[in-house]
């Protein structure tokens, strides 16, 4: 049986933990709203871009298509671009992303492909390093900016495209969480490079569209932008997922701390009463002996 003082200290420490988780939960709730708004605001651009892509890609095909669309012709070397968060305290989010990435890696390796990792965000480093220490190509640090925006997506895309042009990999996959709700963030694996041919007919049946300079030139200009937009979208989804997961995790933590405090308080009161009773018995026994 723990002493009274020990119990009291324990209650105090759980209380301050609860204060921290409560604060983090409220911060996450506030940030979640902003992150969700940002993710929504980015949607029109992505939609229009893929619409245009679809109509263009159907016109330019075969050997004249840019490298980014038709790929290098081989699919031996795969690059997994894994988007993790920079901060913890967000439940199982990062563990789930890493799990999805590792599953994809295992699947590719089982098929006899080479796999390398390109990590974005701090929290994926340690767990992936544990299994694939020699396969990590690069860490891209996003922790020094408050809210990763288009500049970061731009920098990542430039870097990836440069590596692709140098022939360092054939296929790139993007692993990132998709924000469904504060309770569910699904890790997803999407092919990033070569750009998958967009489905749908585009503007189809439209009047003849005039292109300036030409279809191919525009497509060439468009594809890197598309990659950038994908990455930007992934960063925004990550942001929203992180806050959502964090909010839920911290809500649970706060509730658990509350339960623990109740339990400890009962225990504390019981032992206090026991101590008082013992004291009384001693006094009474002493008085009777006189």
């Amino acid at each position: 049986m723990a002493s009274l003082k020990e119990l009291k200290d324990r209650i105090g420490s759980v209380k301050s933990t609860q204060k921290i988780t409560k604060a983090k939960q409220m911060v996450a709730a506030a940030k979640l709203r902003r992150a969700q708004a940002a993710a929504e605001a980015a949607r029109p651009y992505a939609e229009r871009l893929s619409g245009v892509m679809a109509s263009l890609a159907s016109k330019v095909s075969g050997d004249s298509a840019p490298l980014l669309l038709r790929g290098t012709g081989s699919d031996k070397r795969h690059l997994l671009v894994v988007v993790n968060t920079d901060k913890g305290l967000c439940g199982g989010l990062n563990a789930n992303i890493v799990k999805a990435a590792k599953a994809k890696a295992r699947e590719l390796i089982a098929d006899g492909k080479d796999v390398t990792f390109y990590l974005i965000g701090k929290k994926g480093r340690a767990p992936i390093k544990r299994d694939y220490a020699d396969k990590i190509e690069k860490h891209f640090d996003t922790s020094d900016v408050r809210q990763p925006g288009f500049e970061e997506a731009d920098a990542i895309a430039e870097d990836l495209l440069e590596r692709f042009e140098k022939g360092e990999f054939d296929v790139a996959h993007l692993v990132y969480p998709i924000f469904q709700s504060a309770l569910a963030q699904d890790p997803t694996v999407d092919q990033l490079i070569p750009v998958p041919s967009p489905e749908g007919e585009g503007t189809g049946g439209d009047a003849v569209v005039e292109y300036e300079p030409g279809e191919e030139e525009i497509l060439e200009d468009l594809l890197p932008r598309y990659v950038k937009t994908q990455l930007f979208g992934a960063l925004l989804e990550r942001e929203a997922s992180e806050q959502g997961a964090s909010m839920t995790a911290m809500d649970n933590a706060t509730r658990n701390a509350g339960d623990l405090i109740n339990k400890l308080t009962i225990q504390y009161n019981r032992s206090r009463q026991a101590a008082i009773t013992t004291e009384l018995v001693e006094i009474i026994a002493g008085a009777e002996a006189l």
Partner: protein, 85 residues
């Protein structure tokens, strides 16, 4: 007669309004778009998009960087990577 004009960046929808005419800095020269323009697509160079709210009005200029413009049935859409101000 009005041209539906949309200016979109990755971060948000900057403009969505009906205007009289828009002059876009295309990669191969500026071009003006009025209502009923034929379907057209062009990359744009860094420069100013001039928006004429009404005929003869002083144009409002918006600096854009990187992107392309698309004219379709529903109007003009400019997708730009950056918009100043």
């Amino acid at each position: 007669m009005a041209l539906h004009f949309e200016l979109v960046t990755p971060a948000k929808l900057v403009r969505s309004e009906d205007v009289h005419m828009v002059v876009v800095p295309g990669a191969e020269g500026e071009f003006g778009v009025l209502e009923g323009h034929a379907p057209f697509m062009s990359t744009i160079r860094d420069g100013a998009v001039q928006v004429y709210k009404t005929e003869g009005a002083a144009p409002e200029t918006i600096e854009v960087r990187g992107g392309f413009a698309e004219v379709g049935e529903e109007g003009l859409t400019v997708l730009a990577e950056h918009v100043e101000g």
